[in-house]
């Protein structure tokens, strides 16, 4: 309450010498220039008669989003908006504008709020001179132990003024400006008539300013990151990769546990013969064997077939329940020579993986015959069937899961990098666009 009363400015009753409009000064006698809100003339606030410094030569009036006289808290301190400027840089005949609000607190002095396309910065003039250095091959300055990398240099022109200022403002005044960034902070150097001033900017979300000053503000108008806008993906790739590594370690431990839990035991291993003269399938059943626990059963078929094909049909049958698992494979092998080069074709072996086989007593029904084309060499074929329990772990699936797990950290890394790339496209270091027309 006491602080609020102490902020009530000593309003001096003045009238514009140009149009007679009443003027209001808020900065307690510190203003050097003031604009008339009616006729927009720039007046000398030090002159008791308010000498006219600059006429307003027409043009569009710019309405500040935060009206003059509005108060709000920044960094815990209450300020009042007393001045407003529109500034611009002209690049390739295109004007890029931003808006500066001059704020005043009788105890803390002046501060600025700068709005560039919805990106807000709280700017404080500093008196120290940052030290020149370099960073990643670019010019840089060091301030309070932090490096600020050069982002861009430009000629900033004042295109509109409104309110009161502690310096003599002139529309059209141009200063040489250099910006150095260390997001969310930015150091700006302005050079005018041999005088250099430094200021430190801190990025502020537009919602924070809305809440502070009680005026509805708009989100940034473009998706292009501002010079010192904090990267929203900072830290996320690192945390995601750490989690990925932890998950990978957990999968390795699980795989080891599952491998140990399921024994790789051979439960059936027999050899059979297909008669050379056999043309029809001959079916038979084997003796029973035990599968001790539920899980995967790998059935390996192997033959010594040569220049022929052996058809093998297999049915694994649970003696008690009558459930069966059936498959057929053709084991073949052909070879020859073609223009001096030898060739082979076919596979003498096959493995079939049967999943979810319950524990129990089983036997095989097997049917086989030679299946070669007419004219193929007919000789007896010996083949073996081996059934073994094994873990269900497939390394193909393991790496597929790993790949799926890597997608989010890869995405975070790409987003973080993409944000920085887009930020620097607005700097003096953006890659030049290649010309599409080459001179012949």
């Amino acid at each position: 309450m006491n602080e609020a009363r102490s902020l009530v400015p000593k309003v001096k009753g003045l009238n514009c010498p140009g149009c007679g409009n009443a003027l209001e000064l808020r900065s307690m006698g510190r203003a050097i220039s003031v604009t008339c809100p009616a006729c927009m003339r720039v007046l000398d606030a030090r002159d008791p008669n308010l000498k006219i410094l600059e006429e307003f030569f027409g043009g569009q009036r710019v309405i500040p989003e935060i009206p003059l006289g509005k108060r709000g808290k920044l960094s815990g301190v209450e300020y009042e908006v007393i001045g407003f400027q529109e500034r611009q840089v002209i690049v390739d005949l295109v004007a890029y504008c931003w808006y500066e609000y001059l704020l005043f607190n009788p105890y803390k002095g002046y501060k600025y709020l700068v709005n560039s396309m919805g990106h807000w910065n709280e700017v404080t003039p500093i008196h120290a001179i940052p030290r020149d250095t370099n960073a990643h091959g670019k010019r840089a300055v060091e301030y309070e132990g932090q490096k600020f990398t050069h982002f861009q240099s430009s000629d900033a022109q004042t295109s509109y003024v409104f309110g009161e200022f502690p310096w003599e403002v002139h529309k059209g005044e141009t200063v040489r400006s250099d910006d150095f960034i260390a997001p969310p902070r930015m150091l700006s150097r302005e050079k005018y008539s041999g005088e250099i001033t430094w200021s430190l900017a801190e990025y502020r979300d537009y919602r924070e300013i809305t809440q502070s000053f009680g005026v509805p503000l708009h989100a940034p108008s473009s998706g292009t990151p501002f010079a010192n806008q904090p990267n929203p993906f900072i830290g996320k790739p690192t945390r995601a990769w750490m989690w990925f590594l932890a998950t990978f370690a957990a999968m390795i431990l699980l795989a080891m546990f599952l491998s140990l839990a399921s024994s790789s035991k051979v439960v059936f291993d027999r050899t059979f013969t297909v008669d050379a003269q056999s043309e029809e399938e001959k079916a038979f059943v084997t003796e029973t064997f035990e599968i001790p626990s539920a899980g995967m059963l790998h059935v390996d078929l192997h033959s010594d077939v040569r220049d022929n094909e052996a058809f093998v049909g297999v049915t694994l049958i649970n003696e008690k329940t009558g459930r069966g698992w059936e498959f057929a494979r053709t084991l073949s092998h052909y070879s020859g020579t073609d223009e001096g080069e030898s060739w082979t074709e076919g596979s003498k072996s096959a493995t079939v993986n049967l999943a979810g086989i319950p524990a129990g007593t089983y036997y095989f029904r097997i049917a086989s015959n030679l299946d070669g084309a007419e004219g193929a060499i007919r000789r007896s074929v010996v083949y073996s069937i081996k059934a073994r329990r094994g873990s269900g772990i497939s390394w193909g699936l393991f790496f597929l899961v790993l790949l799926l797990l890597a997608i989010p950290p890869i995405w975070y890394s790409m987003q973080k990098s993409n944000f920085e790339t887009r930020r620097w496209l607005e700097s003096d270091y953006a890659p030049e666009q290649s010309s599409s027309n080459d001179d012949e």
Binding site: K236, R239, A240, M242, W243, F244, T247, A250, M251, L254, A255, L258, A261, E280, E281, K282, A283, F284, V285, A294, G295, M296, F311, G313, T315, I317, G322, R323, G324, W325, E326, F327, A328, R329, T330, V352, N353, L354, A355, G356, I357, Y363, R365, A367, N369, D371, S391, G392, I393, S394, L397, F398, V401, L404, L405, P408, P409
Partner: protein, 61 residues
């Protein structure tokens, strides 16, 4: 701390992988039959298998 969505996503993915690996899975082609007749032990040639991918459809006697 990493994103909760990523944590949930990875837990579900690894959990599914663990269950599949424990139970076993196969991409191989084979048929499951629920009621193979007991007579197949005495007369295996009379049984009609259901191979879906072999070159032969029926067994001979």
């Amino acid at each position: 701390m990493t994103s909760p969505f990523y944590m949930i996503y990875s837990v579900l993915l690894v959990g599914a992988w663990a269950v599949i690996s424990y139970k076993g899975y196969s991409l191989d082609r084979y048929q499951q039959i629920n009621d193979v007749p007991r007579t197949v032990r005495n007369n295996p040639g009379a049984y009609r298998p259901h191979y879906s991918d072999g070159p032969r459809y029926t067994g001979g006697k």
